[in-house]
């Protein structure tokens, strides 16, 4: 790219833009109306399948049996706690019954599957000389009297529901609420948000009191809380706009241009949302980040334009010429920076998880839109409005005093400061490298990792885990057999061995499957004699033993039986151990007619996601750095230059990995894209600064002078950009959704660190690599 071409294309573009300004304005207005209309139709989209690596072997296996496994997952648990005593209390039982009835009528509830001590399907059973006897847990003649409460206690004890529908400490009772994903009457899909809100209103709000406390958990509740949380993020956007407006004014001292920059950036967001809706995509809790990024990127590029505009006005040009010159000066640098952003985001497409792909597409579209709104529309608007006289006065008044930022950072081109900075960086780098080794894959916290640990959901979850014998981390292995053979003796016996193998694996709490039912059935059929707790070879006996187990534990044509493995937690290490144990078993026992397929259940899916993320992590880093290096090489044609720009970025990447380890943020669907975003946007600073440094060096300036020049012309803008970007995403730190907060923390850190890295390390590295003329002392002020 020679200077000739720059000028040539700039002039051409400049003419096309400024000669027909009204036409452009009309086109922009029409497009904004059109896309704005579509933007209003964008819907939050929390599709489960998009958050998982659909091409992973585990997920493919899961999809094969998805319908068969449906009843395992979609359940809400409502625990009703008596804070004043035990559940054997007339008043409490009345409340429990009312809540039970209330839930029964909520749309989406599988009514016949509803279970609590107040539903008729919960019974106690006993073996007598004549066979089994039993009855409903609530005595037929229940009247709340002391006697009937005592009878209730007896029935509860012999029903075996302690730890299940009744807490181990008898202070709370549970209502088990299975949901129909598809309403059997209307065929409509379950509206999670609506369900979740009804549950809140009809149960928690209505019955929570001094003596009764409600705890609710389940996938439907998580989704409901996620969508509610996402709506709050809308408020953050407003907050980000207000803060940015204030900063813009502080920077430019011009209301007019501040508002125009803001407006152009908001238009960029509207376009981006409109286009997303047009291509049939939605906005998910991850890609919700994109409008913030687009807005911040828009503002940061807009600032460069205003910066130039004011400078040109000060130099005495009129509004139109000032705008034209601003456009001319920033056209190439802006385009290069935005192109590297967009391509950097596109590298996220290598990760085989739909939400990340959607995020990549949305962010690339957003950046492309910023080119139109903030490199084209903004200069046109500015050519009409100009900047206020006050802004020009302010600039005149301050341009001769060295800005504190400029005078501070300019030192880093001097050898003493440069080598000092490099030494400190080296120390920090080694810290980052050491700490980064401890960075974990996957989610690290208990409960619903999407939500904060102290969120009500996770507190409720902790309550239920503490008081009932159930783990919420479930890994399902599917035992696949020939049709009608899922409970054949040979298959059951191997499934039994597998269950024991898994039971003996670190991190496994319990294993349940049809084999367990058969063993319990044998125990029951033989008068409750534990000596029969074994799988029998006789197929008729086996069939009898699982007589009462309909196909939840095997599918309709009896070709698959899920083996449900309850885990201590869903940490990546635990999941890895479990996967390795399954693989070891399948390698050791290859028996014709049966296969053990991984994996379903929330932990099974997480294991697949982790494995994809672990490999994608490096793939993505290679891609994003590869692309950025190639772009910089094309622009600057010098390996030393590329090193000066890339090394600070790599430094930030290493430091952010150290930060993730220290802050217990795992590499997961939410945080993986952040590294690519950080690098993609971070390279902007380097490009802006280095292009100025090079300009000056080409004029024959020393490195110190060249860096001084770069800081004078763009240092303030770079500093401002870093802060704007950081503030845009920093609001996310307050999101009720844990992974959004994690994204916020990391992006804020990366944006600020990238800015500091660019301002400090680029000159220092340039000094180290001896960039610039040999005779460093020569003074040759660059032309303005």
């Amino acid at each position: 790219m020679s200077t000739e071409q720059h000028t040539g294309s700039s002039v051409w573009a400049e003419k096309a833009l400024f000669n027909v300004r009204p036409i452009w304005l009309i086109i922009f207005a029409v497009l904004t109306l059109f896309l704005g209309y579509h933007a209003t139709k964008v819907r939050p989209d929390a599709s489960f399948t998009k958050m998982i690596p659909t091409h992973h072997e585990f997920i493919q296996n899961y999809f094969d049996y998805r319908d068969d496994l449906a009843s395992l997952g979609n359940v809400v648990r409502v625990a009703v706690e008596n804070t004043q005593g035990t559940i054997f209390d007339a008043e409490f039982q009345q409340t429990l019954q009312q809540i039970n009835d209330e839930i029964f009528f909520i749309p989406g509830v599988n009514r016949s599957g509803l279970r609590s001590i107040w539903t008729p399907n919960v019974r106690w059973m006993e073996v007598t000389e004549e066979g089994f006897v039993g009855g409903p847990v609530i005595p037929d003649n229940y009247d709340g009297s002391k006697q009937s409460l005592e009878q209730l206690r007896t029935n509860v004890l012999r029903s075996g529901e302690v730890g299940n529908l009744v807490a181990n400490n008898f202070r709370s009772a549970l209502i088990y609420v299975p949901l129909d994903e598809i309403n059997p009457e209307t065929g409509a899909r379950l509206d999670y948000q609506d369900f979740s809100q009804r549950l809140e209103k009809l149960v928690r709000d209505k019955y929570n009191s001094a003596s009764v406390k409600i705890h609710i958990t389940g996938f439907a509740k998580v989704i409901g809380d996620l969508i509610d949380g996402a709506i709050q993020v809308g408020l953050f956007f407003v907050l980000a706009i207000l803060i940015t407006l204030g900063m813009l004014y502080l920077y430019s001292r011009c209301w007019r241009s501040s508002v125009i920059v803001l407006a152009c950036s908001i238009i960029a967001v509207i376009w981006q949302l409109g286009i997303i809706e047009l291509i049939g995509s939605g906005i998910n809790p991850y890609s919700m980040l994109v409008p913030f990024l687009v807005f911040a990127i828009g503002v940061s590029h807009g600032v460069q334009i205003i910066n130039a505009m004011v400078a040109n006005r000060v130099a005495g040009h009129n509004k139109l010429d000032a705008a034209k010159m601003a456009f001319r000066g920033l056209y190439i640098a802006g385009l290069t920076a935005l192109a590297s952003d967009a391509i950097g985001f596109t590298t996220l497409m290598v990760i085989d998880i739909d939400v990340i792909k959607e995020l990549a597409i949305a962010a690339s579209i957003g950046v492309a839109v910023v080119v139109l709104t903030n490199l084209m529309l903004l200069p046109i608007l500015m050519s009409y409005s100009g900047v206020t006289d006050y802004a020009i006065e302010y600039q005149l008044r301050t341009q001769n005093n060295k800005h504190i930022v400029v005078s501070f950072f300019s030192r880093f081109a001097q050898p003493k400061w440069a080598y000092g900075a490099l030494l400190v960086s080296l120390l920090m780098l080694s810290w980052g490298l050491v700490k980064g080794q401890q960075m974990k894959i996957g989610d690290l916290d208990a409960g619903a990792p999407e939500l904060r640990q102290d969120s009500r959901y996770n507190l409720d979850n902790a309550f239920i885990v503490d008081n009932y014998s159930s783990s919420t981390d479930i890994f399902v292995v599917m035992a696949k057999t020939e049709p009608q053979k899922c409970i054949a003796y040979d298959n059951l016996e191997l499934m039994d061995r597998f269950s024991w193998h898994m039971q003996n694996t670190a991190g496994v709490q319990d294993v349940k499957s049809i084999v367990y039912v058969s063993r319990m059935g044998m125990f029951g059929l033989n008068e409750g004699n534990l000596k029969w707790f074994s799988v029998n070879r006789n197929q008729y006996v086996i069939n009898a033993s699982v007589n009462k187990a309909p196909s939840g534990l095997f599918n309709a044509d009896c070709s698959m039986a899920p083996i449900i493995i309850y885990l201590d937690d869903h940490k990546a290490e635990t999941l890895k151990t479990v996967v390795a144990a399954v693989n070891q078993f399948t390698a050791d026992y290859q028996q014709e007619g049966i296969e053990f397929l991984m994996a379903a259940g929330n932990s099974g899916i997480e294991a697949a996601t982790n494995s994809v993320i672990e490999t994608a992590q490096y793939k993505m880093l290679i891609w994003v750095y590869g692309v950025v290096i190639v772009l910089c090489l094309l622009t600057f044609r010098s390996l030393r230059t590329v090193a000066c720009i890339i090394l600070p970025l790599a430094f930030t990447t290493v430091m952010s990995q150290g930060l993730m380890a220290v802050m217990d943020i795992g590499v997961k669907v939410a945080t993986l894209p952040v590294i690519a975003l950080g690098v993609g946007i971070g390279v902007d600073y380097g490009i802006y600064i280095y292009s100025r440094v090079k300009e000056s060096l080409n004029q024959g300036g020393s490195l110190t002078d060249a860096y001084q020049y770069a800081l004078d012309s763009t240092g303030k803008a770079v500093g401002f950009t870093g802060l704007t970007l950081a503030i845009g995403v920093a609001t996310w730190i307050f999101s009720p959704i844990k992974f959004q907060a994690d994204m916020g923390i990391l992006l804020t850190f990366m944006f600020i660190w990238n800015m500091l890295g660019a301002l400090i390390l680029i000159p220092a590295l340039a000094r180290l690599f001896r960039v610039g003329p040999k005779s460093a002392g020569r003074i040759n002020p660059p032309p303005r």
Binding site: S71, G113, N121, P178, A549, Y566, T577
Partner: protein, 394 residues
């Protein structure tokens, strides 16, 4: 509707699992030579009879069914071919090497020799105080033993039938058909399913004379410490094929208790047996003879009886529970402890002289046997080895 059942059943299953499973962090046990041999050659059909008991650190907290106080050591047997061995009272329970993975139901010992029985007709033997165990018998061999006995009986009945008077012919014909039917069943089982009958108890008169009893009137005897076994099912009058649940004895007097109140006694070291009048028509799961020579038997729904005259008469014991009782232990203090389902431990006396003292073990899980300990009792059952401390052990 099906969906309902799925969900509710899963819940039911989970609750049947009983008390909270504590999270046990354990290291994946390395494959021992033993464990490796069980899987070679690869892709061979897995059979629980021939697969060695897998290495496990959960053995002591998983199903264990029977305890044996041997000379200088204790044994506990249970699921997955697990045999645990304790050499010091209160010491660790070490997992022994066993060449089967079936559910072991009972164990007995004479000095350093020990025998254990289990499902799929398996009998295992140890000559080193329970450290290493080998199979002496499995269900496939059991078919041969039973077939041999039946063929012998058939031949005997046929020759009797030829010489019999007309009056006796009907009965003999019936017995013959019965034996032939049983033989056919054995052939059928051998071809179709394999061994389905669990052995439920083992009793050693001395180091040579060993008995094993099991489901559907399975009754085995060895006169040479288990090197050779024979089926002696025909010695019992049990045409209904009721399960023989437990066996005990003193001297040459032997007792078998079984399903539906079945009781048998032999006064000649097992040569001939007589059916006793049972005080109860429900099943007995456990039996023992105490120091005073009293015969205890206990079973379904908290029923327990004691006989001071070898089963000619019985005294019903008030146990204070209606849970199944399957294990018992008489103490030097005169008390007898009976244990059973729902963690029930009932302390009773042979003459009902004091009200039963019923304690529910905190685990609430099925208990199957007990031994006395320094501090109280060692218990086994659904949750493996558990302890019960007695404040003032009387």
């Amino acid at each position: 509707m099906r969906k309902l059942n799925k969900v509710s059943y899963i819940l039911a299953v989970m609750c049947l699992g009983g008390a909270a499973h504590t999270a046990v962090a354990l290291q994946q046990a390395p494959l021992t030579a033993n464990a490796a041999s069980e899987t070679s050659p690869q892709s061979q059909q897995y059979d629980v009879i021939y697969a060695a008991s897998p290495a496990s650190t959960l053995a002591s907290s998983n199903v264990l069914l029977d305890l044996q106080q041997a000379d200088g050591y204790r044994l506990a047997v249970g699921d997955w071919g697990n045999v645990l061995r304790q050499t010091e009272v209160g010491g660790d329970w070490q997992k022994a090497q066993v060449d089967t993975s079936v559910l072991l139901t009972a164990v007995t010992s004479v000095a350093e020799q020990a025998w254990a029985v289990g499902h799929h007709g398996v009998i295992i033997y140890s000559s080193d105080g329970g450290q290493h165990w080998q199979r002496q018998l499995d269900g496939f061999q059991l078919f041969d033993l039973e077939a041999a006995e039946l063929k012998q009986r058939i031949a005997h009945l046929q020759s009797e039938l030829e010489q019999a008077a007309e009056d006796d012919a009907g009965d003999l014909q019936f017995a013959l058909e019965d034996a032939q039917f049983l033989l056919e069943n054995i052939d059928l089982a051998r071809q179709e399913s394999g061994p389905v009958k669990p052995l439920l108890d083992v009793y050693a008169m001395d180091a040579e004379r060993i008995f094993a009893v099991g489901a559907y009137n399975t009754f085995l005897y060895s006169a040479d410490g288990g090197r050779n076994w024979q089926s002696i099912a025909g010695r019992l009058e049990n045409s209904g094929g009721f399960h023989l649940n437990a066996m005990t004895g003193q001297g040459d007097t032997l007792f078998i208790v079984g399903e539906a109140g079945q009781l048998f006694r032999s006064d000649d070291a097992g040569q001939t047996w007589q059916t006793l009048n049972s005080p109860y028509n429900g099943s007995f799961f456990g039996t023992h003879v105490d120091e005073q020579g009293r015969w205890w038997l206990y079973g379904l729904r908290g029923h327990a009886y004691v006989s001071s005259d070898n089963g000619d008469s019985f005294l019903k014991i008030a146990t204070g529970t209606d849970a199944n009782l399957s294990g018992g232990l008489s103490l030097a203090t005169g008390y007898t402890l009976l244990v059973g389902n729902s963690g029930v431990m009932s302390k009773v006396t042979a003459d009902n002289s004091s009200n039963p003292d019923v304690i529910e073990h905190s685990s609430g899980s099925v208990l199957t046997d007990a031994l006395s300990n320094d501090e109280g009792f060692v218990l086994v059952g659904r949750n493996g080895i558990q302890h019960y401390r007695v404040q003032n052990k009387q």
